[in-house]
Amino acid sequence: MLIFDNAEDPRSLEAFWPPSRNGSVLLTSQDTSWVGQETINHGISIRSLDIDDGVKLLQGIFSRWKRTISREAAERIVYETGGLPLALRQIGSYICTIGTDPEDFVARYSEVQSSSTWVDQWSESTQPSYSRTLATFLDFSFSKLGQRALSALGVFCFLDVDNVWADVLSGSAGQLFHADSPE
């Protein structure tokens, strides 16, 4: 059994695809073009979370921070994000980290609507709603950041997505996690 988790486009895995017909390959991806590949026998489209599962996810995040969120606020957030797990995680963590009230967040968040950005061009096969939902949340959270914080975030653009050891960021850790505004 070979597992490719969060695979990018088919071209990027050409060199690693096993030539043997024995065994199984399990692949997860946001790139829907995999479904059309000859090498894929069977594909399942994973839908967004339904209301109950989305609320459960948010409540789990809040409880780890020893906080609570009303069902109504949680449902509103699930509705606004279309039940996309990444957006729910980002928003849940954001609310808990900043310490804002979930109802206040929902009220302000509903006013922010991001249109499709050119970032969607990065991954033509990613569901557009996925990028737009994330874009909406990031528009909202970025508007709270000062110039220093934004500059510090610029560092992450040039790092690998995983295994960013603290010593790589040392010397600027204070800058990275200190927003100019109270939020």
Partner: protein, 329 residues
């Protein structure tokens, strides 16, 4: 953010990272690029293939190489923002050398492409450019693309010659050593392509230059060892075993504690192979056992160690007798 026994480690979702690019302006991206270039340069040690073993000087190389690869990817859109393209070129070159040493040739090529792009941006460091061409050639040679490799070695030679002409009278100590290396590399390439006469000429010029610097008390034993060994290989290919043995002896005489352990091991291995071909089994075994000891200590289980073991097995097999058969097995 996670905490484990090794410390704190962060991760960022790929989509979030992409969205960051969308929002940050050139000023913010430039600051990020500057900062991360300097940070990586500080943490990732210089990889110098001609002087030392291509082994981890610092175990952290493995920790930082994914970030150097990510930095290289990001340069597709941000290379024009770099304020110090030369430092970036050097960092990417070192990443490329590290990946080459690990036989990750495609990834090495990717880094070397970007290194060349950054170096050519200002075009001020011709010695660095020559080094990039040389490593590109080495990667191509190891990928089996000998004709392209030769072109890059020739380009490396042209660049260093142009540079020496431009700085005549003011050249640094190592500039001419780069020229000597360029001749050696070309010679090794011609040898691989079967043009042994041209190969010999190039390496003899390389030796001449290196001996000149040795006479000026610049440590050159490791580089001399390399060229003597190459001449040993070429003469062995030409069937002149006596001359080949003479050069292998010189390579081993020249090697000192400053020389690369793996280079000495390679010399013992090739010299052992030469004796094996001539059925001088006792001498072959002695030399190959030296090679094996050095390789197993420096590399552990590796392709090179296995290659020496294989020849040792051939020695024992040829020796006949029960004890030898057991040793061969």
């Amino acid at each position: 953010m996670d905490r484990n026994k090794d410390g704190v480690v962060f991760s960022i979702h790929r989509q979030v990272k992409r969205q960051l690019f969308d929002r940050l302006d050139d000023v913010q991206l430039t600051q990020g690029l500057q900062w991360i270039t300097a940070k990586m340069r500080h943490h990732f040690p210089r990889q110098v293939p001609y002087e030392e073993d291509l082994s981890d000087k610092n175990k952290a190389c493995a920790r930082y190489i994914p970030h150097i690869l990510a930095l290289s990817d990001a340069l597709s859109r941000t290379s024009h923002l770099s304020k110090d393209p030369t430092m970036l070129a050097q960092l990417l070159l070192d990443g490329g050398i590290y990946l080459w040493s690990k036989r990750l040739l495609e990834d090495a090529k990717g880094l070397l492409d970007k290194s060349q792009l950054m170096c050519e941006m200002r075009g001020e460091d011709q010695v660095l450019l020559s080094e990039i061409y040389s490593i590109r050639a080495a990667v191509l040679a190891d990928s089996g693309n000998l004709v392209e490799a030769l072109k890059y070695f020739e380009q490396a030679m042209s660049v260093i010659k142009r540079h020496l002409k431009a700085v005549k009278g003011n050249e640094g100590t190592y500039d001419q050593i780069y020229l000597a290396n360029a001749y050696n590399n070309l010679g090794a390439m011609y040898a691989q392509l079967g043009d042994y006469d041209k190969a010999k000429t190039q390496i003899e010029v390389s030796l001449f230059l290196k001996k000149k610097w040795q006479d000026r008390n610049v440590p050159m034993s490791h580089l001399l060892c390399l060229s003597y060994q190459n001449l040993g290989n070429i003469n062995a290919q030409l069937g002149d075993f006596a001359e080949a043995a003479r050069y292998f002896d010189k390579a081993l005489e020249t090697a000192t504690v400053e020389s690369s352990t793996l280079r000495i091991a390679l010399t013992y291995h090739n010299y052992g192979a030469l004796n094996l071909v001539q059925s001088k089994l006792t001498e072959a075994r002695r030399l190959l056992e030296e090679a094996y000891q050095l390789r197993v200590e420096a590399l552990g289980d590796s392709q090179d160690t296995a290659a020496t073991l294989h020849l040792l097995a051939c020695c024992h097999h040829q020796s006949r007798g029960e004890a030898s058969s057991e040793a061969a097995r």
